[in-house]
Symmetry: C2
Subunit: 366 residues, 2 copies
DNA sequence: CTGCGCTTCTAGAACGTATTAGTCTGCGGC
DNA sequence: GCCGCAGACTAATACGTTCTAGAAGCGCAG
């Protein structure tokens, strides 16, 4: 009746912790029998099995996780360690979508995801070591791979099943899921080129990331074949730097006629800057985002973007991870996720007519 | 030299699992000494302590988590169970921000967050029971509280330290962090009323949620004092239903002059519908979002919204949870997070001149 | 009636650590 | 010179399960 107040601090002995012996006693069997019943092992008559399970259910008893784990049971936990400023995580739709997809697949197996945000790559590797030593996780997902990233090799050495997202380099110590950023970037440039754009700005992401490198490589690779001149400005993926880069690109003379952004957040920031500077989109400058989300679709004008199912990317990663976890450390394999598809929206158009005697000059040399 | 191929499936015995006995042997002491050293307990000379720690560090050895846990150690894990369609999680900026804030505070204590997405509330309670029985988590965060939600009482009975977000009802079995939705909604209505709006639409969230209820209550409470007539349409928080509700509100006759949305995603969807229907914002209809994010700030026009620091809400929740976890099951307390602040942007203005005997008739039925 | 195989069940030894109750050494005080 | 005591360290047990080896009961073939 009165609020549960009489219980002093820390005196909340709500549950008198059950053990398998209690269940055994109540069911009139041995602890071994309880173990067999709970784990669905053969060697028990249906009658006793049911009796045991009934008692266990009634008391809501489950084997103490730690004790099972001590006998080598899996922990049913998959770990993700992120080394980014925590505040930026919530801003990137990518991460939330990916995590949702990953978790939704893992949930089916009763596996939960353990998330830890750390300061830097050093702390990150320390966590991998710790988790490995403590047997805390059954598997790992590695994100934000950098060039010459030491983590895959470390994790492989530690013997933890793991999947990297976005890496397919050589050598490849871990199974990976990757997206063909190269082809995607080529697609964007081909599209812009076909509209008539030659002078293109590129607001790139963190250049030490592998996928950023692949995009930059693609730009170089099509330079001569398409005749595109691309100006890349590196950023840290933040909206602030995306806006700043846009300001620089739009202030330059001659000005590029199209800008490609490595993320949706930056594209939207850039769109804001253009509007603010009185540069009209798409008639003065075309904008393309390398990532799609509600941000780009609901912008004004809606932004032409590479779209992909990030949620599905998460589920695919989960599938691969589950495979690695059950197969053991086999030969690492690279699974390719579908290449993002270009969705043309209102932010792209042919470049403004060039200054010069003939308007059609722009199309010349096509 | 050759790729690690000769090792058959599952034969990757990379690490020959160290135990405390190994460390003891190498340091020339007993296992007890190792335990004392690792856990910083008194009873060892500084010399031997250092020797032991050096060996442990060298081999990257840590106590096997399960074994420690068996002796009653904490698991350093905080759990969150979500019962929502996984796909919607990534769309809501709220969740990602909150989780980032929560994790960033917990990381400081070396605590990680365990996330599980389930189908429905029933599965959710099952997970709470399971995690409790398995001693899997040290604490829980309960989100999306519903009216008469059985979960707080269940979790309290299970004896798991926990914090609920958004509940401050009576009785209150758990410590909670709550936001004054009532005051916030009153603020919105006062603002709209001061602009001259009387007939207002409200695209509400899931009505079984406690915070939705508090908002609806606020609407009723100011009905007479402000003279506002509010039309609430319940939705499931999805952009689709937000758009549909907007369509209904804008199609009604007489039409409301302002619409309040219970989330930013729905507000943006509604803005899209208005544009599509040729209803101009804010001259024909004003739009207010109950939640703020990059979505609302970058929309066109930017949407007037209640803004709050969701990241900070996460850190505040973490603080409370840590307190509960260390204090044990004390009297539950309700901590109030700052009330969201209304940020006026371009989506709100005075209502269009009323139809009447005057020249403004022209605008009628537009 | 003995012995064998099958099913059903159980005793007891792990698993790797933390802790309790020591043991052993050296040393100061009487 | 012996007692007692503090400091440094260790042996052994407990934690709660799982698993191996084996016991008990029972039917049945020989």
């Amino acid at each position: 009746m009165a609020p549960k107040k009489q219980a002093g601090p820390g005196a909340g002995q709500a549950a008198p912790r059950l053990r398998s012996t209690d269940i055994a006693r109540l069911a009139g069997v041995s602890v071994s029998a309880v173990s067999l019943a709970i784990n669905g092992r053969p060697g028990l008559s249906e009658a006793t099995r049911k009796r045991i399970l009934d008692v266990a259910d009634e008391l809501n008893w489950r084997p103490h996780r730690a004790a099972s784990a001590l006998k080598g049971a899996s922990s049913d936990v998959v770990g993700i360690v992120i080394a980014r400023p925590a505040r930026t995580l919530g801003v990137e739709p990518f991460f939330a979508h990916f995590l949702s997809g990953l978790q939704s697949s893992l949930s089916g197996q009763g596996i939960s995801t353990q998330l830890l945000i750390v300061e830097d790559t050093e702390a990150q590797t320390a966590v991998y070591r710790r988790w490995a030593a403590e047997h805390r996780v059954d598997g790992l997902v590695l994100l934000d791979l950098e060039v010459d990233d030491p983590r895959p090799q470390l994790v492989a050495d530690l013997g933890i099943p793991a999947v990297t997202l976005g890496s397919h380099g050589n050598p490849m110590p871990l199974t990976s899921v990757w997206v063909d950023d190269h082809a995607a970037m080529v697609g964007i440039l081909q599209y812009l080129s076909s509209l008539g754009h030659r002078h293109i700005g590129h607001v790139s992401g963190i250049t030490s990331f592998q996928h950023t490198q692949r995009r930059l490589q693609a730009i170089q690779d099509v330079h001569t074949s398409l005749g595109t001149e691309v100006d890349s400005i590196p950023t840290d993926f933040s909206d602030a730097q995306g806006a700043e880069a846009t300001r620089r690109l739009l202030g330059a003379d001659p000005r590029c006629t199209a800008i490609v952004y490595d993320s949706d957040v930056m594209a939207i920031a850039g769109l804001g800057v253009a509007t603010e500077m009185g540069v009209s989109v798409p008639s003065d400058v075309s904008l393309v985002s390398f990532d799609d989300s509600v941000l780009t679709t609901m912008a004004h004008p809606p932004v032409t973007a590479l779209t992909r199912d990030t949620f599905a990317l998460g589920t695919l990663t989960a599938t691969e991870l589950l495979r690695v976890m059950s197969d053991g450390p086999n030969d690492p394999q690279a699974t390719q996720a579908p290449t993002p598809r270009l969705v043309v929206r209102g932010s792209t158009a042919a470049p403004p007519a060039e200054r010069g005697p003939h308007a059609d000059d722009a199309l010349e040399g096509r």
